[in-house]
Symmetry: C2
Subunit: 363 residues, 2 copies
């Protein structure tokens, strides 16, 4: 293999992990039923409760990436024919529709322009009594934040299902206060841990309405509960071999975040994102996401006319070891996505990416 | 957290990883679309082809643990009502029945006593024209090896689906020569890598008969093929964020295994297992798995009458930092499972576990 590179991961994720999270990955491995590992798992679940803003007993890391969290969210709660209202304002809302369809849902899709936020009133008007209302908190494809609390206020009898992959640990997230019933997230964004696990949480209210025998064995929350989340001590039963190294890494990353303090971490993301967005505009570039709904942790920038989007990304990668993301779908060549997440939410990252962009674009 | 322990993982898995695999986990993280990461992914797929004994183009690590491999094996190839013959001689054969049922299969279960091998003739007689015949190569619950080549000879028009979680990298495995059409495995056993990925392979014959739109989005092999396995270079399309650290670790572990040489690695597992089994019998203990079908990498031992199985395991863990496994289901308290896999397939591990057992049992 070629020499090992040190990349600045300023794309939409993964981000560079916290050193504590990397160090934990390389620790001597423990068995998945070892008492010391079960302590680590419990501590990880406690940490996840804190970053979700929940007291849900059923809060745990699923043994796969964030997209498997999306699948678990639908497969455990959708019976064939259930009406499911999905707000779509980006790629991940679209993906929800595909996943829900495969579970047999009667999907009612409510579209919003890419780059704009979800409007709760329009979602409420879509169906009189859906089983589930689903939305993405922070759209990774567009850099937009939607108001989840507003969806909680209009949900009525429905369960509120939320994608928090790019919001968790980066911006305010209050699962209990906002009325989130089913939530999934990722580790590789603002939590500053490598990808491989899906932080998941379920309210008691949702639990009562779960599918009795989900089509997925691997993501069956009831079976998973025998190993983690509900069980403790010697009552734990084996379901599958947990990815022990990844769980240890998540636990260490969460401790790093909670030691710094959730508010402080969010302020750091806010400050870095604000400085980046100001700097980008000062350079004469335009932001893509609608004003007032911009995520600090993920900035979308319109590619200036006449500039080759891919060539700029390639130069950033090859000359500066900086990764930024392309846009998605119809915006593939017209938008860049710049993430400052986890340890990269820092002034030096802002200075570096702005400086490099200025040099490459000649501005 | 308490002090970091160094455990000797002599249970049914995970095993202690090779140092190369651990080192790769802690390397600076790469983005999942970084050209250097895609090189690592390609190298991992090449390495997997070697340990599977296949030239299948569709050979890749799925982004979840071995049990998700089992789910992918059924969900991508079973349409509701398809007859699926499953040979059951342990827990993992039973799990296959559950997973296949959830996919809507018409499951024809062929039972064999736990501790004995699968008999191909009995499997062949179970149904005149199944779509799939499924079996476990190395039953992790009982320590038994079954003859997969014999199943390949009787499969007729059926697809042969094989669980190679505990066999891959440890004993002979020849997917192409034996006629395996769909295979899944794990990383945390004889490959000597932490748990978190499921090595997977699909023959062209199986590919032609796949489900068009599987119920699982996350494990949809057709969509995954756009990112890995079939695609290359800039034609790769994003499906989900790959667990980059785990893939880098797998790649390093595979290189370690292939540098030593597959035959040499298997001989090492064979020698360690044989020495352990001889030593256990010399101590007056009985082996559980049927003679002639014993796995070298996973030895099952009957707990002597009057001995408290759990107390012995606890003493091994607390006094010697040695983990061994309990038995499964009806054998939970009457069988121990001792694995010598990956780097632990070595003379010093045999000496250590035999010595510790002798001391704890007073033999």
């Amino acid at each position: 293999m070629s020499q090992i590179l040190i990349r600045h991961l300023f794309g939409p994720g993964p981000t560079n992990p916290y050193p504590e999270a990397t160090e934990a990955l390389a620790r001597p491995l423990l068995g998945h039923l070892d008492p010391q590992f079960l302590e680590i798992m419990d501590s990880a679940c406690d940490g996840l409760r804190a970053v979700w803003g929940t007291e849900n007993r059923r809060t745990l890391p699923l043994s796969a990436t964030g997209s498997a969290g999306m699948e678990a969210a639908f497969v455990n709660f959708v019976n064939p024919g259930d009406p499911v209202v999905i707000a779509v304002n980006g790629l991940f809302g679209e993906r929800m529709c595909d996943v829900a369809c495969r579970c047999g849902a009667d999907v009612i899709r409510v579209d919003f322009p890419f780059g704009e936020a979800v409007d709760a009133e329009k979602v409420a008007a879509a169906h009189p009594s859906p089983k589930i209302i689903a939305a993405v908190h922070a759209e990774t494809s567009t850099g937009v934040r939607s108001d989840i609390a507003a969806l909680g206020r209009i949900k009525g009898d429905a369960l509120l299902l939320v994608d928090a992959v790019t919001s968790i640990g980066g911006i305010e997230l209050k699962a209990d206060e906002w009325g989130i019933d089913i939530g999934y997230a990722g580790t590789q964004k603002c939590l500053g841990v490598a990808p491989g696990l899906a932080p998941f949480t379920v309210s008691e209210r949702a639990w009562q309405r779960r599918v009795e025998k989900p089509r997925s064995w691997y993501l069956d929350l009831d079976m998973l509960g025998g190993y983690v989340g509900e069980a403790s001590g010697s009552s734990r039963t084996y379901h599958h071999t947990a990815p022990v190294a990844m769980v240890a890494s998540l636990e260490a990353g969460l401790r790093r975040v909670l030691d710094e303090g959730l508010d402080a971490v969010r302020e750091r993301h806010e400050a870095a994102g604000r400085a980046l967005q100001d700097g980008v505009e000062a350079m004469g570039l335009e932001l893509f996401a609608a004003q007032g709904h911009r995520l600090p942790e993920l900035t979308t920038v319109k590619v200036p006319e006449g500039v080759d989007s891919a060539a700029v990304r390639r130069e950033l990668l090859e000359k500066y070891d900086i990764e930024i993301g392309a846009g998605v779908k119809e915006c593939a060549n017209t938008v860049w996505r710049i993430g400052l997440m986890g340890p990269n939410a820092a002034p030096e990252s802002v200075t570096l990416i702005l400086g490099a962009l200025r040099e490459v674009l000649g501005r």
